[in-house]
């Protein structure tokens, strides 16, 4: 039982990370119809910036704030410079561009920061409590709280602000959005900027829970996040969150209880993606809108 609870907690901890990356994927997908394969690498780059800032003596919280701001600006620039020229190109061309971004950011990161392991300090102190024989670290609680707050803020932004209304209008019908005077270009820029900022925060709270910051830190995360978004439905932010948690818990339990998966846990998300595509391609929360004429 204790073991089960421990694994459940690990699963939730990883799950919120997958959820936050999946949320960024869904945000971009909903507004631009683009599957951003570079989301993980964008987060990785931001996390290296956070590390660099702490290495230069800045406190971790301040470093996260600064790198989040930098990520926001870079996200906007990426939309403007790389995405906008291919906005109306075929999905295949766009796919190539985001995969190109993945490879480019990946190698730029290694070139700038080197390929040795880095230690990113945690934003949380090393406290822990024992609850029903399970050790609950402040690190874990912090991770869950920060990412839950991130999801909540994004939800509030989308549902309760004018900017959010504009973003949703562009996602729903770009042409009509322009006809009411909404500049869709500006909205898409905001979408990418916010997604990049989410990635920076996610990376900075996730990496300290892993052994070290390396060039490959976010690659598995991206795969799990893709599985989470597929499971939840690519057009549903709520689906991304629920999908992330399910994938995280499924992974943790599979590691613990399914002997042959011990060393190849990465098959878990692939099995999930395959199963969803086979049985419910819209995902758990994806909507196909009912349209009557």
């Amino acid at each position: 039982m204790t073991l089960f609870l421990q694994q459940l907690m690990n699963g939730i901890g990883n799950g919120v990370v997958y959820a936050s990356v999946a949320l960024a994927l869904v945000l971009i997908y909903r507004t631009t119809g683009i599957l951003n394969f570079a989301q993980g690498e964008m987060a990785l780059f931001s996390t290296y910036i956070t590390w660099k800032l702490t290495d230069a003596g800045l406190g971790i919280i301040a470093a996260i704030a600064v790198s989040t701001l930098i990520a926001f600006v870079f996200g906007a620039i990426i939309e403007r410079v790389l995405i906008r020229p291919v906005e109306h190109a075929s999905p295949f061309v766009i796919l190539i561009v985001t995969i190109g971004m993945f490879l480019a950011i990946s190698s730029i990161t290694v070139t700038i920061f080197g390929d040795d392991e880095k230690q990113l300090p945690s934003a949380f102190s090393e406290r822990a409590w024992s609850v029903a024989d399970v050790s609950v670290t402040l690190e874990f609680v912090g991770l869950v709280v920060v990412l839950a707050a991130e999801c909540l803020l994004l939800w509030l932004l989308l549902q309760r602000t004018k900017l959010g209304l504009g973003l949703r209008a562009v996602a729903s019908n770009p042409e009509s959005a322009r006809l009411v005077g909404i500049s869709s270009g500006t909205m898409l820029m905001f979408g990418w900027a916010i997604a990049a900022a989410l990635g920076a925060i996610g990376g900075a709270v996730y990496v300290p829970t892993t052994p070290a910051l390396t060039a490959g830190s976010m690659q598995a995360v991206l795969v799990y996040a893709l599985a989470a978004a597929t499971l939840g439905g690519f057009d549903s932010p709520l689906g991304a969150v629920v999908g992330g948690l399910i994938v995280g818990v499924a992974e943790a339990l599979a590691i613990q209880y399914v002997e042959p998966l011990h060393d190849i846990t990465l098959v878990v998300p692939f099995i999930l993606i395959g199963a969803v595509l086979l049985f419910k391609p819209t995902g758990l929360f994806g909507r196909r809108i009912v349209e009557r004429v």
């Binding site: 209008a169 729903s172 042409e175 009509s176 006809l179 005077g181 809108i289």
Partner: protein, 236 residues
């Protein structure tokens, strides 16, 4: 003074030329209809006016050239375009659709205006928290018109508002448009195949054939024009 004055408008899609030099105008407070069969270029004309299509010639709004401006900029000059097929935001609620219509406004009367159009179209009020995409065609058309009116437009462009609507619903909609025109100063440019209803509320009209204006006149003149009667009013 004309609200909209279009001169020698030419344009199309890539190598396909659709408009071959149209000239027409809408005066302040007028409803003007452009009649034309399927494929004559009605939608293309409206898209050129609202900046969604590369075109040459001249499009003057209150005497100011707007050809070449972006759609969002033209919209902010208080031109509201209800596109063919309604162009609502299906995932947003009815009320959110109306708030999107007021996106470029910064005045404090937005909530009052929402109530105002709910008063004109009570069915929208009943469905204010419902997703727009789940409503009937008639309700969506009313929503599309209300959303356009939320822009506080000086000029309303309507692309075949009767398309896909039951005759009774169409009639109700046109009556509302006529009333609006009398009670506000909004000028309207309506493109239609349904000449009967359109000529009832319009003061003037043009007939478009294969990208060219082939007839024009007051609504009464067009109604008694033999060609128009044959082609668009279903009379011998």
């Amino acid at each position: 003074m004309s609200v909209l004055k279009v001169h020698d408008l030419r344009g199309g899609y890539g190598p396909v030329r659709v408009l071959h030099g149209l000239s027409f105008e809408v005066n302040a407070g007028e409803i003007v209809v452009i009649l034309g069969a399927n494929g004559s270029g009605k939608t293309t004309t409206l898209r050129a006016v609202s900046g969604m299509l590369n075109a040459t010639g001249s499009v003057l709004l209150h005497g100011e050239e707007v050809l070449g401006r972006s759609p969002e900029r033209i919209a902010r000059s208080r031109v509201a375009h209800v596109p063919q097929g309604r162009g609502t935001f299906p995932e947003l609620t009815v009320e959110e659709n109306l708030r999107v219509g007021a996106y470029s406004r910064s005045d404090s009367a937005i909530a009052d205006d929402i109530d105002r159009w709910f008063g004109v179209f009570p069915r929208l009020k009943e469905r204010r928290h419902q997703q727009a995409g789940s409503m009937s065609g008639g309700e969506q058309q009313m929503l599309a018109v209300s959303r356009a009116l939320m822009m506080n437009p000086e000029l309303l462009l309507l692309d075949e508002p009767s398309l896909g609507l039951a005759p009774l619903v169409t009639q109700e909609l046109f009556e509302q448009l006529g009333t609006l025109n009398r009670t506000t100063s909004i000028s309207m440019l309506v493109v239609e195949q349904n000449a009967n209803l359109a000529l009832k509320i319009a003061q003037r009209g043009y007939v478009l054939e294969a990208g060219l204006i082939v007839a024009s006149g007051t609504a009464a003149e067009l109604k008694s024009n033999d060609e128009v009667r044959k082609a668009y009013l279903g009379m011998a």
